[in-house]
Symmetry: C2
């Protein structure tokens, strides 16, 4: 739909249509939703040329506007990536439907039967950057969990997202579902995004996805409840009793297997009694893997080729092959460092000391706390959720990796036979 189309629905009309669609989605069986998801997967593959063509328009505009190669890479949606998206959508169809699950239930002394069951939120709003895969990803997860989705993607992906939403809507309608189960508000620009953040009448929850700056803005501006997925300044602490081989394995895995993701290691803390034993081989292994180590004075006294760390390094989410390293006097100093600098995403201790492990797990206030494991395990797939909505770093509603269940609310169902309180 063209932005200049005089008959185009208004912002409020679109949101109202999504709200109306959400009441239909809320009571669909999993079979109906899964059939629609498979139809979406098929439609994405069938519309490859339309989608890729729209994406090439966005890419050309991005080049003209001077977007960096990495931003253009995020924006790109070619045949292979589209096939992956279709496969991911098929996968969502195989997951267990969270809607209707009984969270808890009992019979009250007066005979009332009480059940708390999972229900969809209703309308999920998403605000994200110019990554068109998010459009399909969020739409599929919302649909499976019985929610309508209102999407606001980055303006650089305008044409791609418009075609993707068209294709999604065609597949929904072909499956007998309301078209407005998925809508885009991209045509309303920044004003649309701002309006979405205060559209409490129409939107039940907002999920921002993207940079720390984007998320901060949405948190600050929204009166609609937000599920915050945040940055990961992730720590590993090598305790006095840490085994050398395990330390090397975990630090290497956490730092180097995918440095650009939020569960990658950013700061390594080492107990001073173990530093001379552990740090030289750990740093040698890191450097052999291409990691630039930014160390405090004591770290630099124990290994060569270490850049001097400044305070900015303790706060850095490098998302690259860089690592901050500090030697600390004890466990208390390690947890104090973490309390000061962590984004409360994931922290891990490597230790063979039971009491130290339990203290670390109890005292570190992060979404995921680990002993003797790589921080890279903080992931919906690894946790067995099948799909991941994101990793929440807030404490309300969801914390840590979110699966489909975290895209639901609940409802209390009370079945009586005429009970009154009197």
């Amino acid at each position: 739909m063209s932005i200049t189309d005089v008959a185009a629905p208004s912002f409020v009309e679109k949101l109202s249509a999504a709200k109306a669609a959400s009441t239909v989605l809320a009571t669909l069986t999993a079979d109906r939703k899964n059939a629609a998801l498979r139809a979406v997967a098929g439609a994405l593959l069938a519309a490859e040329s339309r989608i890729v063509e729209a994406n090439e328009r966005d890419l050309a505009a991005a080049r003209e506007a001077g977007l960096s190669a990495s931003l253009r890479d995020r924006l790109r949606l070619d045949g292979d990536r589209l096939a992956s998206l279709a496969a991911a959508t098929e996968l969502v169809a195989t997951l267990v439907d969270p809607v209707g699950e009984t969270v808890r239930g009992r019979v009250l002394p007066n005979g009332l039967r009480l059940d708390q069951i999972r229900v969809p939120f209703g309308v999920v709003g998403a605000i994200y950057e110019a990554r068109p895969n998010v459009t399909v990803d969020i739409a599929a997860l919302a649909l499976k969990s019985g929610n309508a989705a209102v999407l606001r993607g980055g303006s650089a992906a305008l044409h791609t997202n418009a075609v993707l939403v068209e294709v999604l809507q065609e597949a929904l309608v072909a499956s007998g579902l309301p078209a407005h189960a998925v809508v885009t508000i991209d045509e309303f620009g920044r004003e649309g995004a701002t309006s979405l953040m205060t559209a409490r009448e129409h939107v039940d929850v907002l999920v921002p996805r993207g940079s720390a700056e984007l998320i901060r803005t949405v948190v600050r501006e929204s009166s609609v409840p937000v599920i915050e997925t945040g940055a990961g300044v992730v720590h590993v602490f090598l305790d006095e009793s840490a085994e050398l081989e395990m330390s090397v394995d975990i630090v290497l895995d956490a730092k180097t297997t995918r440095p650009s993701v939020c569960n990658a290691l950013e700061t390594l803390l080492v107990h001073e009694a173990a530093a001379p034993r552990l740090l030289p081989p750990v740093i040698a292994a890191l450097q052999a893997a291409g990691v630039t180590v930014h160390g405090d004075e004591r770290t630099r006294s124990l290994a060569d080729g270490v850049v001097a760390a400044t305070e900015a390094d303790w706060a850095a989410e490098y998302m690259s092959l860089d690592l901050a390293v500090a030697v600390v006097p004890d466990l208390d100093a390690a947890t104090a460092h973490i309390a000061r600098w962590s984004t409360h995403h994931t922290e891990s201790i490597v230790t063979n000391d039971h009491a130290a492990a339990e203290r670390f797990l109890a005292e570190v206030d992060s979404a995921v706390v680990m002993v003797n494991a790589s921080t890279r395990f903080t992931d919906g797939g690894e946790f067995g959720f099948g799909a991941e909505v994101g990793i929440s770093t807030q404490k309300l509603h969801a914390r840590g990796p979110m699966g489909l269940g975290e895209l639901t609310s609940s409802k209390w169902v009370v079945r009586g036979s005429g009970q009154v309180r009197g």
Copy 2:
């Protein structure tokens, strides 16, 4: 502490102290917290004269300022009410501690042991009106759930709250707990309330308690996540098959046993096929109980003494012995009326038709949906929670009556033996 005390801590100092106290509270055993709660209960009774004296100063100021009798009644804290508060605090000590409860847990295929456990939020902020009982109530619930509490009460209760917090802090310190586990920011006035709503560094969740206007303001202004406890425009629908005696019992119980609370009935809907049979006796019973019935045209044609309802009646949360009544063609019209006018708190259907009951339970999107039961059962105590934090009408985090568990977040604990993702 006097507002003019030059050595008084600043707003940020107070919030930082509460945050520091929260880290101590987070790992306390239930025994320690229960002992502190019992000490608080004892201290409240021991400080009766101090508390009542402060309250009398507030009451005198309220009379002078021309506050209504009902507002002054809310503000009053006499010996009897103080004894009830102490008893309620003792009761909180008897409840099961939610902290440390395993929500779910499993061993992953790679041998990682994964447990999601309940942990305190950290710092709970409360913004409420001039009801000093809320000060003690929130402080006790926060303490039991391992949270520090930052309190902002109505300015009319300034002196009472100041003394209550002093007494609470004395009891905490006597129990070996940090004084700043409970702090008031009343001395910072409106500016303090505004700052609290954006204090994301120090406050993990905000719970507004009071009028719809207060709650709307907090939701609009806060960047701190809010748990919204909302108004109750509560409906009962008498279906075609509703039994007369059950209809009368449930409607009377829901409307008349405590009309000023949020789970009280505000609008009665009646199936047109049952209206001639049910409405005359139901309305007669209501009128005999002193209820003013505001009815639509068809209701007025079936009973005498019914005031003509206007559209405002469908939106009204009367909180008084008034009731709106409408005759509707069928179940669909009933659920459509509810979708339009309800605040999504509690709705109940009276029916003997299984399919109608199940449709109502599935299609009505409210925190609590009922069949053949009084809406007055929407209550933490009735649900078996022991204490009630409030009734959430939002969909994020908590929905419906909230117990101590709803004052907690969760944390994922991962125990490994050197696992890496590779």
